[in-house]
Amino acid sequence: MNKSPWIFLGVLFALSLSWWGMVYGPASQVNNLSADLGGGDTLKPRVGLAKQGEQVYRENGCYYCHTRAATGGTFGYKIQITQLGDDQKINEEVVGLDYSTQTVFKKAYAYKAVAKAVDSLKAEQGKKAEERDEAKIGDANATLISAKAKAGAHGDDMEVNLKAYGISGVNFEPDMRAQLGLPAEMNEEQQAAVAGARFDITDGTQKWSDIESTVRRLKDKAGAQFKLQPVAKEWPDVQGGAGRQSVLRDFLFDAHAMVGVMRVGPDLSSQGSKIAPLDKDGVPINTREADNKFYKHLYDPQWEGESSHMPPFRYLFRERPLEKDVLAGPREIVIEKEGSSRVAIIPTAKARALLAYMKSLRTDKSLPEAPLVNQPKQASAE
C-alpha cells in the first residue's frame, strides 16, 4: 500500500460498496414501488394543507422527539370462520370440542337444518299435482317443525342469532326469520352484523405451526370459508394504538421522510387514526372536538393540568386573554386552566397545516406487506 493512486482507487471502491448497497440498491427498488393497495384501493399522496403541514413538522424539528415508525412485533393467528361447511360432523371434528359446543356453532347448524327442511318441503310442494305425495309433505313439515324447535332451543340472544345466521351461510324469507328469533326486517346494523359475522376457532395466540393442519383440514375436508387474522402478542406499538407495522410505502409520497430520532414523545405513525378514526366505510370521522384537543395540546401541552415534556408551540397561534365571563368568538378556542388566566386562541395556517399532516399519518389501512393486526384487548372483548 505504498502507491498513492492505488489508495485512491481502493478508497473509491470501498466506499462504492456501501453506496451501492444502501443508496443505489434501495433507491432503485423504491422507484418500482407502486401505490396500489390491491382491491382497487391506492395510497394517496398528501395534498393541500397536509402537504404544507409536512413542512411545518420539518421546520419545527418535531422529528427529534417523535418517531413515525411503528415497529414490528410477534403475533399469533386467529382463524375466523366466515361460513361453515355443510357436514356438521366433520366441521365439529375440525374445530374441536371447545368451539363446536358453543351456542353460535350449534345454532348455525340448526339454521342450516331448517334451511334444508324448507328446501325439501318446497321441493315437495313444488311437484306436479299427480306426483305429489301428501305423506312426504307431512314428513317434510314435521322435519321443519322439529328443526325450528331445535333452533329455538339454543337460547334467544339476538346477537348470537345474527352471528349464527351469518356463518351458516343460509338465507331465510322474512317471515321465517321472525319464527327463528331473527328480525324479519333487518336494519343496517343488523345487516352488517350478518355480513361481517366471524366465528373464532383459535384465540390468536397460536403460531402458524400450531394452526397449519387445522387450516388445511378446514379448507380440504370441512369446506368452510375462513380468514386468518393476525393478533398482536408481544407487539408494543400495536398494543399502543397502531394498526400495523410502518413500512417503506408509508413514506412513498413524503417530501422528506422523517422517521424520527427518539421517542421522547409517543410514536406518531397512527396519530391520524387517533384524531380522526375511520368509520365503517373507511372514511375518517373529523370532529371539532378532536381537532381542538390537538390545537390545545400544541398551544399548551399542559392544558389539561398534566405535566408534559413537550414544549409549547404558542407561536403557531394567535392568542388573546379572555376576561372571566366574556364569550369567545366563533373560531376561537378557549383554554381554561386552573391557576392561570383564560385565553382564546386561533390556530394560524401553520397550525392548521400541522393538524392536517397529523391526520394523514395513519396505520389503519391494510397493506399486503403489512396486514392490519388486531389488538389482543379487543380480541378478548369480542
Partner: protein, 485 residues
Amino acid sequence: MSENTDNNATQASEAKPEAINASCRLPVLFLFFSAAVWVVQASAAGVLGSLKLHVPGFLADCPYLTYGRMQAGVWVAFLFGFAGNAGLGLTLWMLSRLRGMELARPGFVMAGAIMWNVGVTAAMVGITMGDQPGIAGYELPAYASRVLLIGQALIAFSAILTYFSRRHKQLYPSSWYLIASLVAFPWIVGTAHWLLVETPVRGAAQIPVAHWAVTSLQQIWLGTIGLAALIYFIPKITQRELYSRQWAAFGFWLLLILGGWVNLNSGSPLPVWSIKLSQFASMLFVFVLVAVGWNLCQTVKGVPLIGSEDLTLKFMGVSLASWLVVALYTVGNSMAEWNGLLQFTYAGTAMRQLFAWGFFAMAMFGAIYYVAPRLFGGEVDWACSGTYKWVFYLTAVGAAVVGLAGLGLSYGHGDALTNVETLEVSKKALMPMRIAFMGELAFLGASLIFLCSMACLLFRNCCGECSPMSLIRQCCPAKVEGGAE
C-alpha cells in the same frame, strides 16, 4: 512488517519541519481558530437545547429556538463547524509532515477555509430560519452544502497536491486515512445533497440514503480523521513504531467498507433484507474494532496513555478508549434484541456524542495542543498551558457522563416503551438526558477554555503588541513562503 513503517519519515523528510510548519501556519491556524469558535457554538447550543427539554416552557415563544432547530444546529456546528475546520487543518498539517513536503498552494486553502466557514454560517442561519432538510444528522440546506463542497474541494486540492508532490516515499497508514477522509467527504455530502435535498428521491428511498449519509459522515469521515490522528500521534509521542502495518491496513479497508452499513435500527420501516444486512455489517465491525484497538494497544504496550505525563498522549488515550466503546456499541447493534430495546432511546444520541466529543474532539484537542505552538516555530508554547489541561479533564468527564448515562439509563426508557402508558415513558426518556446535561455543561466549559487558549496563543505569539495588524504582518511571510512552492 514494522521495518516498513515510516513513522520517522518526518525526520528524513526533504523539507525541514520548520519550513513545513511555516508553510502551514496561516491556513491551518485559521482553520483551528474557526474550529474553536464553532465548538463553543456547538456546545452552547447543546446546553440551551437540553435546557429546553428539561424546562419545556423556556424560550417557547421564539420560533427560532425550538428544540428541533437547536438539535439540528448543534450537530451542524459540531460536525461541519468544529470537526470540519479542525479536521481539515490537521489533515493539511499531517499530510505535509508525512510527505515531508511544504503545503502546496496555501492560497487555495485560505480561500477554501473562508468558503467553508461561510457555508457553515449559512447552514446555521438557515436552520434557525427553519430551512433544515429534515434529516437528523445531516441537516444542511442546499445552499450551504454547495458552498461547503466548493470549500472542501479547494482545500482538498491543496492537500492532494501535497500528497502527490512526492511519489517515491512509503506511505504511513495515517496518510491512507487522511486521503480517505478527503475523498469520502464530497462523496457523502454530494450524495446527500443531490439525492435528499436538491432533487430528492421518493420519500421511501430517502430513509436508507439518509441513514447511509449520516452514518458514513460519522464513521467514515470523522472516523478516518480521528484515527489518522491517533495512529500518527500515539507512536510519535511514545517514540515507538506502529505495531503492524497489516493490521492497520485491515482495519482501514474494513472501516471504509462497513462504515456506511452499520447501525440501522431494527425497527426502521425498511425491507427486512437491508436491516439484516446492516446487522451483519455491525457484526463484522468487530474486526475493525480489533484491528484498530489491538494494533494501537500493542504499539503502546506497557506505556500508560491516559496516565501519561504528556498532555497530547492523555488526549489520545481517552480518544482511543471512546472510539473503542462506540465501536463496541456498534457491534452490539448487530443483536436485534439489544437494538430493538435501545433504538428509540437516548442511547444512539449519547453514543454519537461520545464519538463526537470523547473520540473526535479529544483527538483534535490533543493534536491541536501539539501542533498549534509548533506552527509558530520551535520555542513557542501555549500562553497558559496549565489551563489547557482543563480542556482535557472537562471533555473527558463530559464524555464519560454522557456515555454512561446514555448506555446505562436508556434501558429504563427502552423498557418503558414496551409498556403503554405515555407519561411514565417520557419521564424515563428524560432520565438519561437529565444526567447527560451535566456532561454537556462540561463540554461547554471545555470548549470555552479551548477557545480562550487559542485566542491567547494567537495574540501572544502573533503580536507582541497585541494588535491585529501585527497578527497579519506575522502571518504574511508564511503565505509567501508557502506560495513559493
